[in-house]
């Protein structure tokens, strides 16, 4: 009797729940990249959806694109996503989202709303990267055919991560960091920008990758400066480098020190640590930026530079520090000019002098930040010279 009851109950459990929230893999529309634009008063959301059969190692069909771009329109991102089910065969699955591209026009209007939507979504994670499409729509970025990696978002994502590690002027920011920075008083958001270079008309055609050097390519350029959630300006390459230096995001980059006409001593930065120290002097905030970097000499193009001589190396240290200082100065000046504290001076002040901070935080960006006195304490140490000292090449 007990057995019968148990059998009936378990059958009911299995049959009546209907396996809810079950979605087979081939019912998914896997979205890897989302692009947001603003047009005619409503959101235009582009979903770059992968076509799994094209990506997988077996049966590749070169006539079809590796993915599809679906577009929806609506007053909110959610409405746009749902509206595109009128065209798309399945419902979107954003669990594996990799890249979130925001058009510049939309960024200038403010990105707070869509960040909120992404945060609330129970399917989306917070580990995807956010970038700004510079000077163009997000849609055009997502339609690009890229060589080497079939899926453009993958390509862009990897490029973002790699360049962040090895070439300073990009930062890869994930959604949780965006949320962090938008919520903190005393720091402003900064996001990397991406744009298409080359022949833009060929971007969305498979002929783009038929050539050895694709006519249309993407490139990360510049860092967007936000005030609140609105984009207000861009940092150029030097200023971006300064930004990464100061915010302790620098891992590796390249420094060129001229040593003659068109000849340089090239140094690879292998590690870098930066610290901010805030203090208040005579009622005015003073911030001390200390950067400690280490490097390796990777290029000696002038025979006049003797890398085995400690005095020469010390001289190179000083020159490298000056080089980095120029970038940092440029970044600070630009931030002050834009009146947006993207460098985190405010937070540092809040941590070290909370009483003072409470009096200035309401007006920080407009009045106090531009007047901050900045001291630079940059030290560079060259540790190695590669696998050889002075080469025997005679120039």
């Amino acid at each position: 009797m007990k057995l019968r009851k148990a059998a009936v109950v378990s059958l009911c459990l299995i049959l009546m729940t209907g396996c809810w929230s079950r979605r087979e893999l081939n019912d998914l529309m896997i979205v890897l990249g989302i692009g947001l634009d603003w047009e005619d008063g409503e959101y235009v959301v582009s979903f770059q959806v992968v076509n799994p059969a094209q990506i997988s190692a077996q049966k590749q069909d070169n006539t079809r694109a590796p993915g599809t771009l679906y577009q929806g329109r609506g007053k909110s991102v959610f409405e746009a996503a749902r509206s595109l089910t009128a065209e798309a065969p399945r419902k979107v699955y954003v669990g594996h989202l990799q890249l979130y591209v925001i058009g510049e026009k939309l960024a200038r209007r403010g990105i707070g709303d869509m960040i909120d939507n992404m945060l609330r979504d129970n399917e989306a994670r917070m580990d995807f990267n956010v970038v700004i499409a510079r000077g163009m729509t997000a849609e055009s970025i997502l339609k690009l055919y890229t060589p080497l990696e079939k899926l453009p978002t993958n390509n862009m994502l990897l490029s973002l991560k790699t360049s962040e590690k090895n070439w300073a002027p990009t930062v890869s920011i994930t959604l949780d960091e965006v949320l962090d920075q938008l919520s903190t008083v005393g720091s402003e958001l900064a996001i990397t920008g991406i744009k298409l270079i080359g022949n833009k008309e060929m971007a969305d055609s498979p002929r783009n990758v038929a050539k050895f050097r694709p006519p249309s390519r993407f490139r990360y350029s510049g860092i967007a400066v936000f005030k609140g959630d609105k984009l207000i300006g861009w940092l150029n390459e030097n200023e971006s480098k300064g930004y990464t230096d100061i915010t302790n995001r620098l891992e590796s980059t390249s420094i060129q020190l001229p040593c003659g006409k068109n000849h340089y001593t090239v140094i690879e930065v292998t590690s870098s640590d930066s610290k901010l120290r805030a203090s208040v002097r005579r009622g005015k905030p003073v911030v001390r930026i200390s950067i400690r970097s280490e490097g390796t000499i990777v290029g000696r193009h002038c025979p006049t530079v003797d890398v085995t001589d400690p005095a020469t190396v010390a001289e190179l240290d000083r020159k490298a520090a000056t080089y980095m200082r120029s970038h940092s100065v440029a970044a600070v000046n630009k931030a002050k000019a834009l009146k947006s504290d993207i460098l985190g001076f405010g937070i540092q002040l809040a941590k070290e002098h909370p009483a003072y901070w409470r009096t200035v935080k309401d007006d920080w960006n407009e009045h106090y930040f531009p007047d901050v006195q900045v001291e630079y304490d940059i030290k560079f140490n060259i540790r190695k010279t590669g696998t050889t000292g002075n080469t025997t090449l005679k120039h």
């Binding site: 729940t17 929230s21 087979e24 893999l25 081939n26 998914l28 896997i30 890897l32 997988s56 699955y93």
Partner: protein, 532 residues
């Protein structure tokens, strides 16, 4: 042939004691209730007539009559079953002895027939163990066990001499449990050979043996073997009691007995260990377990048993410790894989796609394009196919059996993938699961694993990982509640005994395993002494 009065008396007293003990053991009156109480007739001809008639005149019952030279009536008769008894011994010794003894006794002209009988018995001693029977049921039991019955005219009891000999299987290598290093001989169908093999491993007088007869019609001999002083008395008593309470028509294999002596009859998991290898039995006897040997089958039962015993193999103790420990860990891993891999696959691809890396997700999604069935149906179909092929492979003749199972599965899997009925990933999952099942050393344990795999797949398809974990909890609760002959089934994992874990999960080197495990009565007693 000098018969000394004193010797005869002493010997008869001794035989009397032995007789009583034997009868107690054999519980004679329960064996053939129809014939119990029917005495052996003093008139030898009537007895023989009875015996032959009740057996329906079966022509493998051989009767040899011995007559005095000058009389027509038989003075003695030997009855035996051809094929079960050593006919040559009958020829050579019994007739000889009887001729001589009868002649000699006649010579001495004693009138005391009792003396004559006892004298004959003395001579028969030289042949094999001799017992007396006075009851037809006991006589039939001995006759059909292969002993020769010797009846002397005028006496209402007969002798039975143990000169059994029949063609049994030779001691060969085991086909089911192979070993790379270690003894290879396996049990045969003859009880005496099996007990002898165990005795050869343990040459200690404390290895005790008790035999009983189970089965109304088959009257199978079942022996209980244990090390007195190491095995727990409660276990021995329980085993003895349960065996004696079995009232069944036939016992053809130890499996019959296994089902009837289990603690918990509603579980899938075996609570009784069975093996074909004598070294396995010997090592477990030394740990305080009790072995049950059944005549007619090479499978020996061992009680009480633990879950971890089914994941241990004898090889572990003969190979080096580190390697054996790694192998054990591998076996536990395989157990997990063979039980849970398909369920995890179904649960993750259907409910928890976020847990997969993106590239893998895209690859799997690509494979599933065009497949008509949901993942659960695919999995069940493939698993069922595998089970069918596996069973088919068992029944096929040796030569093509292996080829069919391997080739069959590969070909069918490949063809199904190409036809678009299942996805390639599913074939891989199912193959790996099937192969992991084969690493379990004990076939008896692979059965619940295979059955529960389907249950877990159902749970995963209905409730995702939540269902799988709930299923695991339920399984764990069930396993921890099991007992095997009063001992906890999940020892040494629960109740946790760190000292015994050395043999449970890993195989610690011999110089670290000092004490006998908890199953032994003298738990804590030393079994390894370093002679430094």
């Amino acid at each position: 042939m000098g018969v000394n009065d004193k010797t005869v008396k002493a010997e008869s007293a001794h035989m009397h004691r032995k007789q009583k003990a034997y009868e107690r053991q054999k519980n004679v009156t329960q064996i053939l209730p129809e014939y119990s109480g029917v005495p052996v007739e003093p008139d030898i001809r009537r007895s023989m007539e009875f015996i032959l008639r009740e057996m329906g005149g079966s022509d493998d019952v051989v009767v040899r009559e011995i007559r005095y030279e000058d009389s027509k009536a038989p003075a003695a008769a030997v009855v035996y079953i051809d094929g079960l008894t050593d006919a040559a011994a009958v020829n050579r010794y019994i007739e000889d002895v009887l001729q001589h003894s009868l002649a000699g006794i006649k010579e001495h002209a004693t009138d005391d027939r009792l003396d004559r009988f006892e004298a004959a018995k003395e001579l028969l001693f030289g042949i094999g163990s001799v017992r007396t029977v006075d009851d037809m049921s006991a006589l039939y039991l001995e006759l059909l066990s292969g002993e020769a019955i010797i009846m002397l005219d005028g006496f209402d009891y007969a002798y039975c001499v143990d000169i059994r000999k029949w063609k049994g299987r030779d001691i060969t290598e085991s086909t089911n449990q192979t070993s790379v290093r270690g003894p290879r001989e396996s049990f045969t169908e003859t009880l005496r050979d099996n007990t002898a093999m165990i005795r050869r491993k343990i040459k200690d007088p404390r290895l005790w043996l008790e035999t009983m007869t189970i089965g109304r019609l088959t009257k199978t001999d079942v022996s209980l073997m244990y090390m007195n002083g190491i095995a727990k008395p409660s276990v021995i008593e329980t085993a003895r009691h349960r065996l004696q309470s079995i009232d069944i028509d036939s016992v053809l294999d130890s499996g019959y007995i296994e089902e009837l002596i289990e603690d918990n009859k509603l579980t899938l998991f075996p609570a009784v260990y069975n093996t074909e290898l004598p070294d396995n039995v010997a090592s477990q006897l030394l740990e305080g377990k009790v072995a049950i040997l059944v005549d007619g089958t090479p499978n020996v039962l061992i009680v009480p048993t633990q879950f971890v015993s089914f994941l241990q193999s004898n090889e572990d103790y003969y190979q080096r410790a580190f390697y054996a420990s790694l192998l054990r860990i591998l076996r536990y891993l395989s157990l997990g894989i063979s039980l849970l891999f398909p369920s995890f696959y179904i649960a993750i691809t259907t409910y928890h796609r976020d847990m997969l890396p993106t590239q893998l997700l895209i690859s799997l999604a690509a494979q599933r394009e065009g497949v008509p069935f949901p993942a659960f149906v695919e999995a069940v179909v493939m698993e069922l196919t595998f089970e069918i092929l596996r069973e088919a492979g068992l029944r096929m003749p040796r030569a093509i059996g292996q080829a069919v199972s391997v080739v069959g599965t590969l070909v069918i899997g490949q063809a199904a993938v190409e036809a678009g009925i299942v996805s390639a990933a599913m074939v891989i999952v199912v193959s790996i699961t099937a192969i992991s099942t084969f690493t379990l050393p004990s076939y008896t344990m692979s059965i619940p694993v295979r059955i529960l795999r389907f249950a877990f797949m159902g749970a995963a398809a209905s409730f995702g990982l939540f269902g799988t974990i709930m299923g695991l909890f339920a399984l764990l609760l069930h396993l921890c509640s099991l007992r095997s002959f009063g001992e906890p089934y999940m020892a040494p994992l629960s109740p946790y005994k760190g000292v015994d874990m050395g043999d449970g999960l890993l195989r610690l080197p011999r110089w670290l395993m000092f004490k006998r495990p908890d199953t032994a009565k003298g738990s804590g007693s030393t079994r390894y002494r370093n002679r430094g």
